[in-house]
Symmetry: C2
Subunit: 452 residues, 2 copies
């Protein structure tokens, strides 16, 4: 894409989003967007009953306007702005989001809620919907790249800040904004961008993604109605990149625009726990899948792990879900017994289950500086002297071994099972893979509404 | 107020707000809060038909929930969160707000909309209402003092950022939050604080105050429902003061808390134009008030002014309202002819009025380095050789000569006249002066709703 000389990056970005066509997106990139979409829906379904969602719904539900949009996984309908907020909160609360590793932005769970809410109000084809979703991720990640790493190190929760631009661009694309109004939408997003890392550990951490979705959608709606902003909101001396960044790399916003796509760099976590114990879980699941054995026959589980595993996740006798997610011992035991590691295997009932605890007490983990972070060695020794061994070179979800479509489906099923019927779950998976064939993207929301 | 050792300023501030009692506020301070209240209502009434308000209402009106609150000066009712937004926008759009000179925060127009919206939903006495309003101003200004001037120089619109804390504290006080929840409310405010100075000159400039009111009110409502945040949101290394400030002065937040009151430092602008031409307008109005003369007899108007007046406001032939506000020539002519200088005297019809233009062309302004910024010398020479002379030492609204209650009433009448009947205007003025005697503060909103 050729840039007009002396034009600011805000306008260049706006013009690109306005002019972009679905046909210009390579198939592999479009498919990555489908994966991000399915993955986000799973995260929101999994998080929809979290206390942060309950508190936000209890607060804002009574102020809802026309109830045109779905709170994913739940029976309630709310206005589209509130739906964007709530589905953005639920997307984040399990800490299980997609991650653009170059910026640590969790884009899918911000852009998705904004565009899905809009699609419930105004009919939009699946092709246009997925394209807007993809463009929103692109904008969020490129704005993030301009200010990362200083921005994040300073204390900004980049998903909340950069995410607002992405939600505005995606919603603005669906609204058909022209270049002038898309420029304003990005400016209105810029001046609402917020979210402090200090909030990590509290419900506010998830508020950031929700507000980014809601404020980005608001920005697009305001611009659609002629609400004006600065037209160089990102690059101006008192604009976003210089106020919330330091010596920003503005070129990152426009370099290769329309040629390279940041969604291709998106990654997904297979297990809802500290990423350092993922290789161990991979090895345990592999052994369980390949062999038949009885838990009672296990004498010892010997793990060799990167030293960081014991530093960060060395809790031997976890009692709560939170503690279990920081325990390589529970994680190994539960994954050997259950053959999977989803939110359910971190429920308190499983954490305190006597069979799980019995195996957990037989786990011995040894830190080994020769083991890489993505690597682990798992050996199960049985009472009769037999052993099973599996060595994991690269954990699932690492850059070297990304989650397959089937892996994302499995994760999705684990997250959706508590709130949707098995039939709805399979329909929703199919609807995501075939999203570009539907003439009404809101089908996703209808399938993801829980039965009441 | 004694601080618990090692306690953070966020909690100290929360505890103060929770424990503060109306009886602890000196009468003069309470009266300053009444002045700020009346002044804000005037600004919102004057701005209520501005295109920024129209665009925001056109955007969000259809998403309104229960229509329990008043859009000041207009016929529409909207939900309380939207009312806080719209009345916060209207408060700012004329650039006529109250100013806390030490931080350039326009607090009244942020805190007022938040507490009035809440008072329309839940009955609250005038005494408690005014106290909450005053506490909100206190919190906004103290948080602002902690980060000013670096924060503003960096590019943050401090009314938008610090204002959010004030609105949260004021709304939280009316909701009766306990110390824990007030601490969360301040944290939820901190992580939504936003607004870039780059937006000055666009509608987004006024969005900042509106969002501060709305987000602060949201923060209090969320905290009321148990939504959690960091408990050291202001002072933590990745909290508000260190991320949006540099080497913040945290002591400013707690020093003299409950003893000195920042609302006492609030100032008000008498005229809706560049502050540097205020002394000239003062002089012209004084001459018009003291003498009877015919415009046709004027031969020359000779002004001696501070050099900055001609630098900033030297437009000789303004055509638009915006240009006229930057013209000492129009401002002198119109104030000599009309004896006042309100928004109406900057309307295009007056700017191009032949009688005004005739006098304007006779104005000669001379820059004089011996004249201070708050000073001006005005001489009117008539065809018959007579002269009238007035020297202004300190303009009305300066620290040395603050606006009197009568001045604020006059400004209020000028702003409210286009939207309210004369009877309603006088009732509203009375209601503000006697606010602590009513058992229902929402009377202000009912009086400030336009007849439809």
């Amino acid at each position: 894409m050729n840039e007009v000389p002396n034009e600011g990056v805000t306008r260049t970005l706006a013009r690109y989003v306005v002019g972009a066509q679905p046909a210009d997106i390579p198939d592999a990139v479009t498919h990555e967007a489908r994966r991000a979409l399915l993955h986000w829906l799973g995260c929101s379904l999994g998080g929809c009953r979290h206390e942060a969602v309950e508190a936000a719904l209890a607060t804002f539900g009574e102020f809802s306007g026309p109830r045109e949009a779905t709170v994913l996984g739940r029976g309630e309908s709310v206005d589209i702005l509130l739906a964007a907020l709530l589905n953005g909160i639920s997307a984040d609360v399990l800490g299980f989001s997609d991650t653009h590793l170059k910026t640590v932005i969790h884009a899918g769970g911000v852009i998705g809620p904004a565009v899905l809410a809009l699609a419930e109000r105004t009919r939009v084809s699946g092709k246009d919907f997925l394209h807007a979703f993809l463009l929103g991720i692109e904008v969020a990640c490129r704005v993030g790249l301009a200010v990362y790493p200083w921005h994040y190190a300073r204390g900004w929760h980049i998903t909340g800040t950069a995410g607002t631009f992405g939600a505005a661009a995606a919603a603005g694309k669906l609204l058909g904004l022209n270049e002038q109004r898309m420029t304003w939408a990005l400016g209105i997003a810029a001046t609402q961008a917020a979210g402090l890392r200090e909030m990590f550990g509290s419900m506010c951490k998830s508020l950031h993604g929700g507000r980014a979705a809601q404020n980005g959608l608001s920005a697009a709606l305001l611009a659609h109605n002629g609400f004006t902003s600065s037209e160089s909101a990102i690059e101006a001396p008192r604009g976003f990149a210089h106020v919330l960044g330091e010596s920003p790399n503005l070129t990152a916003i426009t370099a290769g625009l329309g040629v390279t796509f940041e969604v291709s760099q998106n990654t997904y976590k297979p297990f809802p726990c500290g990423v350092v114990i993922h290789p161990v879980i991979d090895g345990c699941i592999a052994l369980k899948a390949a062999h038949a054995f009885a838990a009672a026959d296990i004498r010892r589980v010997a793990l060799r792990v990167h030293p960081l595993v014991l530093e960060l996740c060395g809790r031997k006798t976890p009692a709560t879900t939170f503690e279990a997610k920081l325990s390589v011992y529970h994680s190994a035991a539960a994954s050997i017994l259950k053959g999977r590691m989803t939110e359910q295997e971190y429920a308190v009932a499983i954490v305190s289950n006597h069979e799980v605890v019995a195996v957990r007490d037989k786990v011995v983990a040894t830190a080994d500086a020769a083991i890489r972070e993505e690597e682990a060695d798992v050996m199960i020794e049985f009472a009769d002297g037999k052993t099973l061994h599996h060595h994991v070179d690269y954990a699932t979800g690492s850059t070297q071994r990304p989650m397959s479509d089937a892996d994302i489906e499995t994760k999705f099923r684990g997250l959706a099972t508590p709130v949707l019927t098995a039939a709805k779950i399979e329909q929703l998976i199919d609807a995501c893979w075939s999203i570009t064939q539907t003439d009404d993207a809101a089908v996703l929301a209808r399938l993801a509404a829980a039965q009441i």
